[in-house]
Symmetry: C2
Amino acid sequence: VRLDRSVSVGRAEAEALDIDDELAPFRGRFDLGDPDVIYVDGNSLGRPPLSTATRLQTVVTEEWGRGLVGSWESWIDLPRRVGDRIAADLIGAERGSVVLSDSTTVNLYKLASAALDAQPGRQVIVAEAGSFPTDAYVLQGLAAARGVELRAVRPDEVEDALDGDVALLALSHVDYRSGSLVDMGGLTAAAHRAGALTLWDLCHSVGAVPIDLAGDEVDLAAGCTYKYLNGGPGAPAFLYVRPELQPRLRQPIWGWFGQQDQFAMAGTYSPAPGTGSWLVGTPPILACVAAEEGIAVIAEAGVDRLREKSIRQTSFCVDLFDSWLAPLGFSLATPRDPAERGSHLSFRHPEAWRLCRVLIEQLGVVPDFREPDVIRYGLAPIYTRYVDVWDPMDRLRQAAEDRLWETVSTERRRVT
Amino acid sequence: VRLDRSVSVGRAEAEALDIDDELAPFRGRFDLGDPDVIYVDGNSLGRPPLSTATRLQTVVTEEWGRGLVGSWESWIDLPRRVGDRIAADLIGAERGSVVLSDSTTVNLYKLASAALDAQPGRQVIVAEAGSFPTDAYVLQGLAAARGVELRAVRPDEVEDALDGDVALLALSHVDYRSGSLVDMGGLTAAAHRAGALTLWDLCHSVGAVPIDLAGDEVDLAAGCTYKYLNGGPGAPAFLYVRPELQPRLRQPIWGWFGQQDQFAMAGTYSPAPGTGSWLVGTPPILACVAAEEGIAVIAEAGVDRLREKSIRQTSFCVDLFDSWLAPLGFSLATPRDPAERGSHLSFRHPEAWRLCRVLIEQLGVVPDFREPDVIRYGLAPIYTRYVDVWDPMDRLRQAAEDRLWETVSTERRRVT
C-alpha cells in the first residue's frame, strides 16, 4: 500500500482492504466491548477473547469448585504446557525451554542474575538507554547490588559497547516508545563474539512479530502475555532459557515449584531439570488459564500471517500520517522501513498529551500517551480492521486541524 | 466440647452443634461443588466464594472488555487496596504496610534479602528445620548466594539459637505438617533482644487465627491468599513491612510498579514511599480480584469468630480422634492445647498414604497427605459444618477398622 500523497485517502479504501483481509474473521473471536470506541492500544493491553470469560467460569466452577485440590493434577503442568505452546507457536524455541511464570520484571531479575553469576570475570551489563522502565530498573538494582557497571547506550552504540568485560547484553526486541524493531540475530551474534550472554525482552513484539530464538541463538528471554497475546491485565509472563545453557545457569529465587520431585517435600533444594527450575511459587491458575486462551487465538491465526497484516496496516497508517499529520506539525518517531518496526506507531507532537485526552474523551479513540510528547497507535492485527486505522487517523487529523487540544486541561492525569 | 471417651459420639451431637453455629450462614456464600464430597483440605486450597465467578465475569466483560486500558485507573491501586483490607481485618497491621504482590516465595525472597542487607555485620539466618519447603528453599538460596549461615533448628531450640550473629529469624506461624501454632510475640521479642529481625510466614494461619503484627512488633511477614482466604488456586500473596523499618529496607527486585511516580517513566529507579516500593511488575488483575472476593468474606465473618469456631471444631475432632482413632494405631501430631494449634489436624499412621487414597477414591472425603505418614484434616471454619468433622472422622475410623488400605496400591501418585 502506498498512497498518492497529493490526495486525501477515502475511507472506502480502508473498507476495501478489510474485505480482502483473510484474518478478518478472527475479530469475531474477541469481546469488542463498546462499539463506539476504536481501540488502538492493544500494544498496552490486548482485548479479551470471547472464550476467556467462559473458560474462567469453567475453571472456577468445575475445576476449582468441584475438582478442588485434586485439580492440581492438571494445573501443576500448566506453566510448562503454556510455555511449550509459546515456544512452538510464537517464539521459535525448543520444547521444554519456556515456562509461564511470575511477572516480566521478576523473570528479568532471575535471568539477568543467573547470567551474571555464570560470567564471574565480567563486570558490565550493556543495555539501551531509554529502555522500558522495568527493564532499566531491574538492571539498575542488580548492578547496584553487585557493584557491576550498567552501560546504557544508544541503539547505534550497542555494538561498540560490547567488549571483553561485558557479561550480558539486555535489550528490548521492540522499543516501547518508538516502536523500533531491533536486529535480534545480528546483535546476539555480536554479543557472542564478545563472549557476552544475551537477554531479550519480547513484551512489545511477541504475538505481532515472528521471533526465532533458537535460530538466532538467543540465550535468555522474557515477555508478557497481556499485550498482543491478549492474556488479560497483568497476565503472567514467560521466560526462555537456551537448553544448552540450562546446566550452567541457576536462578536465585529457590522455590517449591522449582524443586525436583516437588511433592517429596525434601528438606534441601535440588532444582528440577530444565526450565522447570525457573519456576518459583504456586502459579496463579486463574491468570494462567486466561493467558492460555489469549495465546491460543494468536497461535491459531499464526504469527507470520499476523505480521503480514501488521505491516500492511502500519504502512497504511504511515501513508495516512504523511498525507494528513506531517503537514500539521507531527513527526513520526517510528522507522519507515516495515522491517525495522513492530506493530505500533509513535507520533510526536508538542500537544500530544492534550490530543490524547481529546481522542479519548471526545472522539471515541483510545490510543496511549508516553512522556513527553508521544501518541502511540498500537495496531493489533488480530482484531484491528483497516477502518480502525483510517478512523483514528482521520480523527487525530481533525483534532489537530481544529486545535481541539485547547478544549482540555494541560494537567497530567495518570494514564497507562 | 469434651466427649465422654467411653462412648461413641453420635452424629446427632454434631448436628446439634451446627444448629447453634452463628457462622453457619456463611457456608451459603460458597460454591459447594459436589454435594457428595466432604472437603477437609481448605488449609491447602480454599473453596470458591459464589461471588468470585460473578466478579470475574464483570471484570472480564466490563472492566477489561469495555473499560480496556482505562480500567488501570482503578486497577492500579488494587494491590494496596487489598493490602489495606488484609492489614486492617486479618493481620493487625498498620494502614499502608501491606501489599498484594507476587507469590509467597518471591515475597519471602524480597523480604529476607532486604533484611540481610540491613544487617551487614550479621551472618546467620535462624529458621525451623522441617519448615515448609518453599520457606526452606528460598532461605537456602539466599544463604548460598551470600555465604550466610542458615541455622535450621528444632522449634524448642529457636531461642537458644538467637545470638549476636543472627540477622534474621524466619519462621512459620503455623507449621504446615503438624499444625502447631508458634508464639509469634514471644519469639519476635526474643529475636529483637538478640538484635535480629523477624520474618513470619502466615500462609497456614491467616484467616483462621487472629494475628497482631503491630502488637507483636513483627518486622516482616508474607502469606498466601488461597488457603483459608479462598482466593483461588495460586492466588497472589501479600507481604508486610513494619512502617518504621521501611526507610531502612530496600528490596532487591526493582520494578516499574515499585517506582515513585510510575508513569513519569523516569530513567532512574527511585522507590515509591512505603510498601509501594515492594511491588515489582504488573499485578495479575484477574487473580487479584478473585483474592479480594475471598478476603472480603473472611473479613465479614471476622477472624475472632472464625477462631472460636475453629477451636471448637478442632477440639471436637481431637475428641473423636481419641475415641476412635487412637485405639486403631493413629497418633496425633498436632498439639492438644487449642492455643498451640491452627485450624488443621495431623494424624500419623503407617498406612497414611493408602488411607488417604481410600478416603478420596472410596469414601467421598478429601483430606491431604504429607510425607511420610501424615493425613491432614483442615477444618476451614467459614464453610465447614460440625457434621463435616464427624463424617470424615467416622469414615477414617471405618477405613482403618476394615483395613481398606489393602484395597489400593502403595504406589505414590502426585497429590497436592
